[in-house]
Symmetry: C2
Subunit: 422 residues, 2 copies
């Protein structure tokens, strides 16, 4: 196994490699001479006309040329779009911040339209002093800021039985990564005073589904946040405006949106979302329960089926994302030949615990087919497994917690396809 | 000077203090009992109705209840909104990321509406090989991700002659802080091959103003980026879509938007934006030039004139932002009594070089008037000066580079006003 050292971006860092050993390596293609390009010789309209002034867009939107950068849902996945999923266009993004407008959505009764003036947060159950907070009350508690990924437990869930969905957005797009501002849940629980037999917390949503989960007190007192802002501004409606629970590193369904109540109890509630849903059916017919932590995972976002290589041979930038519910990602390995050779990817951007990381691998494509894979290592030493390694332990009946290595096949034309190799 | 140690958010961290020593200290107010609040006993409509499904908003927008969170311009500041400024609503934000929709705008000919397919970047002048890149060409170069603040040199410029504008948005809102993805400018210059006498780079914009500045080669080769993404998605139109120069820590007018050309020369060009504009007229009638770096600065965003205290006595959260063009902000001091006592603020969120930092100070308000100030220290040891200290050196004729300490006066009702004290 060969390995390239991670280093700052450098134009000398392009790996000359491809599937065919000794194949012709194209060197150019990344810059072209000025002569004859009408886009250079013609004066463009935007160089001659005044654009909109500073009073026209109090809240800005993306360029009309970017309308393809959008969330997408898959109609046949669910019976109704009000209890369904759409996907973050991860193949169109870069860096580690997901812009609020395209963070994936998962609702059980549609996106609740809450009036913050009429919203309340209650703490009850095994507490010394049951409390109800208005939004204004909550603004008087200390806040913290953290960048965390939020991943649906069902992300990549269709892939247990082989390559199903053709696009990184659909296989891995139930994730977003934003800076949350919120009140440590610990402070609110301390305010109410948790009784000594209070061992679990049940967050409840104010939407029509009344979403609930059981959160162990250790986690509640550790790093959970009652968040009210994402990427600087108020939570978006579809992300739980005005309040959502943030449960760092744990599956997204516990991050209860439109948060209206926190009940303290002495045992878990065994509600629907932790019994018939969000449990993992094993090969022997038994189900794993309370599989909260999201294991280390990565995916190559470019090239990928929705983002083929269109430039032909030569310099090629491969990029992707990696994350772990247990800490940081110090290293990602990449192969372009289906695992014959692995190379250490270059990481760029802040490395924050329980946050998305961005990796890159630059190489000279010789135009022969490629088999692309990435493999994340997290700060605990855990290494992302293959899908087959997962299936040996978990069988093929699962929906949730598929963090297996993803493979994209790139043909001679640069087109990409979701495949499996063993 | 008393000082509180910086520490994680804690409910015990509330400082019991106010202007009047020994004044009555209110303790409660941050939580209220359930009884009698109709918002608790009534079932709200969003708990009974299905919300919009996942197919309704391919690109999401903020809640209608957040329509007050918007950029604002000041009509009398400039002759025409196409060569003008609007301001980031910093008093409505938290954390350190500015959402793309409210990043302040500064145009010289309106926001150019560029078609990326017809956009080109040229490198010419003192180079071995003049080059022209399409957007697709550029996507084949290595990229990096960094969170940087971008501040207009004129931010707080109206305050040289005393308190003028009543709101943090207007006094300090010509700043944004986002994660940029871009190609190190160094790599593109190396691709063209800079001749030995190439000492300056002139970026030129593709808007109708043809914005230009002179950037010294040392900075160009250090940390400048040719950026194409902000907070994960494509640059917004008003931020230079599809390409902008990022000049970390330096004044915003050098961050040329709609970047179309980079000319390499042996001396600065002395164009309009570095002679009649963006120079600092001193008291003796001479002008400082090439004042690129943004000095360390901070401002309290809440409470502030647009965000008064409405909750009365008791627990109060004060928050603000700090930044430096020279590195990180290890410390911010806060006073609530006009400088009699200074307290070390609590920092929360990633501390990144040339990025915004977020600080908090929690105290119990006794209901008496307050004089709020913040004072940033940067990683070089530089301490933010008072406005009077600045005026002693710079006079009152300047427009740019006012990083003086800002004062807000809070009256008994909690209303805030822009004031100066000496």
């Amino acid at each position: 196994m060969s390995r390239e050292r991670s280093a700052p971006a450098t134009r000398r860092g392009f790996l000359k490699a491809g599937l065919a050993a000794g194949g012709a390596v194209a060197t150019g293609g990344a810059a072209r001479a000025a002569a004859g390009d009408p886009a250079i010789t013609e004066i463009q309209p935007w160089m001659q006309e005044l654009g909109p002034g500073v009073d026209e867009f109090p809240y800005g939107m993306p360029s009309p040329y970017e309308s393809h950068v959008r969330r997408r849902n898959v109609e046949w996945l669910t019976a109704d779009p009000v209890s369904s999923i759409n996907f973050t266009p991860i193949h169109e993004l870069d860096g580690i911040i997901t812009p609020n407008g395209v963070c994936f959505e998962r609702h059980h009764a549609g996106a609740a339209q809450v009036d913050p003036a009429k919203h309340r947060l209650m703490i009850n159950g095994l507490v010394d002093k049951p409390l109800v907070f208005t939004m204004k009350d909550l603004m008087r508690f200390p806040r913290e800021n953290h960048v965390y990924f939020c991943e649906c437990a069902a992300n990549s869930g269709m892939e247990w039985r082989g390559a199903q969905l053709n696009g990184a957005q659909f296989t891995h797009g139930m994730i977003h990564n934003v800076m949350y501002t919120g009140i440590p849940l610990r402070l609110l629980l301390e305010e109410a005073g948790v009784k000594t037999n209070g061992k679990w917390v049940m967050p409840e949503g104010a939407d029509a589904s009344g979403m609930t989960r059981s959160v162990p007190m250790e986690k509640a007192m550790d790093d959970c946040l009652v968040a009210f802002k994402m990427n600087g501004e108020a939570l978006r409606v579809e992300q739980g405006y005005p309040l959502r629970l943030v449960v760092p590193g744990w599956e997204g369904n516990m991050w209860v949106k439109w948060l209206r109540r926190l009940e303290v109890g002495d045992e878990p509630w065994h509600h629907r979302e932790e019994t018939s849903k969000y449990t993992d059916l094993m090969a022997d017919g038994k189900a794993r329960r309370f599989t909260w932590e999201m294991d280390a995972k990565s995916v190559i976002t470019n090239p990928s089926p929705q983002a083929p290589l269109t430039h032909g041979k030569g310099r090629t930038v491969l990029t992707g994302i990696a994350w772990s519910g247990r800490g940081t990602i110090p290293r990602v390995d990449v192969t372009i030949d289906g695992g014959k050779n692995w190379h250490e990817a270059r990481m760029s951007g802040p490395s924050l615990s329980k946050s998305m990381h961005r990796f890159y691998f630059e190489f000279e494509w010789d135009g022969t087919p490629l088999l692309l894979q990435s493999r994340a290592h997290d700060s605990t030493g855990y290494v992302q497994p293959t899908k087959d390694e997962l299936r040996k332990i978990r069988g093929e009946n699962s929906i949730y917690h598929n963090n297996g290595i993803q493979t994209w096949y790139i043909n001679e034309k640069g087109e990409a396809e979701n495949v499996e190799i063993s």
